[in-house]
């Protein structure tokens, strides 16, 4: 095998210009996959990270039927009392669950006494919320001395959009008006504690108040929880944990439903399109490799018919001739992949240093692209497999040549 590899490598040097041109084409395809893949995967993981770590959590639990009417933020589909205790007990018994945060979500009016606008409010326990979506405090503008106490009773976090729209500033007093599930309207005054950056979502009008204030505003004797956001120890456990919770949710006495962030966020569709684009780029790479290797190996075989005849005549078995050409195509694929990965990683490194910043929706995104090792392994495997596949037809043709015909070829 060593000798076949040596001969194959030297054969690649016969027509250096052609080898370099073909290798460059394959390497370009690999660079395309590495750079695009690095950008796309980083963009996706950053967006997913923002969504799951600053707003949604990895999974959410609601009362059955809630998600169907989630746009209306209904307050009559809640988990309270025994139901909530049961779900909490279940979550505490799952080692995969790192933290969870009960929430009440509802629509309200916000007024600065002169102007009024609508707002989507999330009532939270700050400590539980911080443990579940630990990135959220980073989106609060200004200093937060204790992340577990980013919000106190009587305070509200207002999103940037509303701050600008209502000409508000931190420390201002505002009035919140809301209707509870019985249809009774109530109002409370709160002080603006801080401003939150907008997170990619339907309206960018998400504010936060303390659970205690929500109880007062909505006239609840005890918190009637609408949503439980769950943070997992390891994001890779999303599938199995979600499956287990969904199994529990199918029990006859269960009154809740479970959804992953992907099922709740419109970004999941964008993430799927990103995945699709990565696949398309890989298909382009496969096409480049297939055509390049097939072309160069066909030419190599055609140019060396007489030599193949000689090799067969002096006792080279057909299998050995087949492997000689296969190894040649494989070696070209391997060298091109190594070069392409090196260049691709170099490009990503430069991008990393220069930082790519842009606005996506209402979010400022700063990309530091990198590509997972598994993705590099996949690219290598794809190129090598396609190289073997593309080289097989010419190699097979070479191995099947009759030596007497091949020797007579001019």
């Amino acid at each position: 095998m060593k000798n076949i590899l040596i001969i194959a490598l030297r054969n690649l040097s016969r027509n250096t210009r052609r080898t370099i041109l073909t290798s460059s084409l394959i390497a370009f395809g690999v660079v395309l996959v590495v750079v695009f893949g690095g950008l796309a995967i980083s963009f996706k993981s950053q967006m997913v990270g923002v969504l799951t770590n600053t707003a949604m959590g990895d999974l959410q639990i609601h009362r059955k039927g809630y998600v169907e009417s989630i746009d209306n933020l209904p307050l009559n589909l809640t988990l309270s009392g025994a139901e909530l205790a049961k779900v909490e007990s279940m979550l505490k018994g799952m080692p995969e669950v790192a933290a969870y945060s009960p929430r009440i979500k509802f629509g309200a009016m916000i007024s600065n006494y002169a102007q009024t606008s609508n707002i989507r409010l999330s009532a939270v326990y700050p400590d539980l919320e911080n443990r579940t979506v630990s990135g959220f405090v980073k989106r609060i503008k200004g200093n937060v001395p204790d992340p577990d106490k980013f919000l106190s009773p009587g305070e509200i976090l207002v999103p940037e959009n509303l701050m600008k729209g209502l000409s508000l500033k931190t420390g201002d007093e505002i009035v919140l008006v809301a209707t509870n599930k019985e249809g009774s309207v109530n109002a409370i005054t709160t002080r603006i504690a801080a401003v939150t950056e907008n997170v990619f979502g339907p309206s960018g009008k998400d504010g936060y108040i303390h659970m205690q204030d929500a109880q007062t505003l909505l006239r609840m004797d005890e918190p009637e929880i609408v949503e439980i956001a769950i943070h997992l120890q390891n994001y890779d456990q999303l599938g199995p944990t979600s499956a287990q919770l969904k199994r529990d949710a199918t029990a006859p006495e269960a009154s809740f439903e479970v959804h992953t962030w992907e099922q709740l966020s419109p970004f999941a569709s964008i993430a799927r399109i990103v995945d699709l684009l990565i696949i398309v780029v890989k298909v382009i790479l496969i096409s480049i490799v297939l055509v390049s290797i097939l072309n160069i190996m066909t030419m190599s075989v055609y140019e060396r018919i007489s030599e193949i005849g000689m090799m067969a005549a002096i006792g080279t078995p057909p299998g050995r001739i087949l492997s000689l050409f296969l190894v040649e195509g494989f070696a070209m694929g391997l060298l091109s992949t190594v070069a392409g990965i090196a260049v691709g990683l170099g490009v990503l490194w430069v991008m990393n240093i220069s930082r790519i910043e842009f606005t996506f929706g209402q979010m400022n995104v700063s990309l530091a692209p990198s590509i997972p090792v598994t993705e590099l392994v996949w690219v290598t495997v794809i190129v090598l497999f396609v190289s073997l596949l593309a080289g097989f037809q010419p190699a097979s043709k070479a191995s099947k040549m009759e030596p007497v015909d091949a020797l007579g070829h001019v």
């Binding site: 001969i7 016969r14 030599e307 000689m310 005549a313 002096i314 078995p317 050995r320 007497v404 020797l407």
Partner: protein
Amino acid sequence: MSLIELQNVTKVYQTGDVSVSALRGVSLNIERRSFVSFIGPSGSGKSTLLNLIGVLDKPTQGTVLVSGTDVSTFDRTGAAGFRGKHIGFVFQDFNLIPVLTVAENVEYPLLMLGRLSSTERRERVEHLLEKVGMADQRDKRPNQISGGQKQRVAVARALVTNPQIVLADEPTANLDHASAYKVIAVMHEMSNELGTTFVFSTHDPKIVGEAEVIYTLEDGTIAGTEQRKGSAL
């Protein structure tokens, strides 16, 4: 038993509707350690005969026995294995592998046989390169040596597996007279020293004179046989 036996061998090439008889009922025996030449005009069947003896082709009719083995029974892999073990080839166009050095070209058939250690291979290659006078060129590539030198390397390559037979199709056709003589001299010397049977085809009357047995072919048949002992070399 003769080393090579051809019994009533016929070879017909079919090209579309046209049949061409290259050999018509050829029978001959070639003994061990002999130095044999096939002569005759183009199209007389010399190369076809060498191809059949070299297990590169199969007869349409008749039997070709090489070392007592009916070579028409081999499949492609079996034929390649038989050639590798028993037959060496010297081609008109030298057919050295351009990406290998002189020494590597000579070593190549041993790698295909795969039976010797690298030390044994190296020793055998060095010995043969010494014999053909190419030891000092061992690290050169084929494009760095002359035609006569290439053919001497080809002779060393043909002999490196210790074959019983070396077949040479017009080995001096592309060489000047002096180089041709050198190549034939090397072949003669190797035949005497190693006991290898050399069978070659040629047009060159001066080269023909070096053969011990000369078969003259005409229109696919043996038109004459001449036994000559003791050449000028």
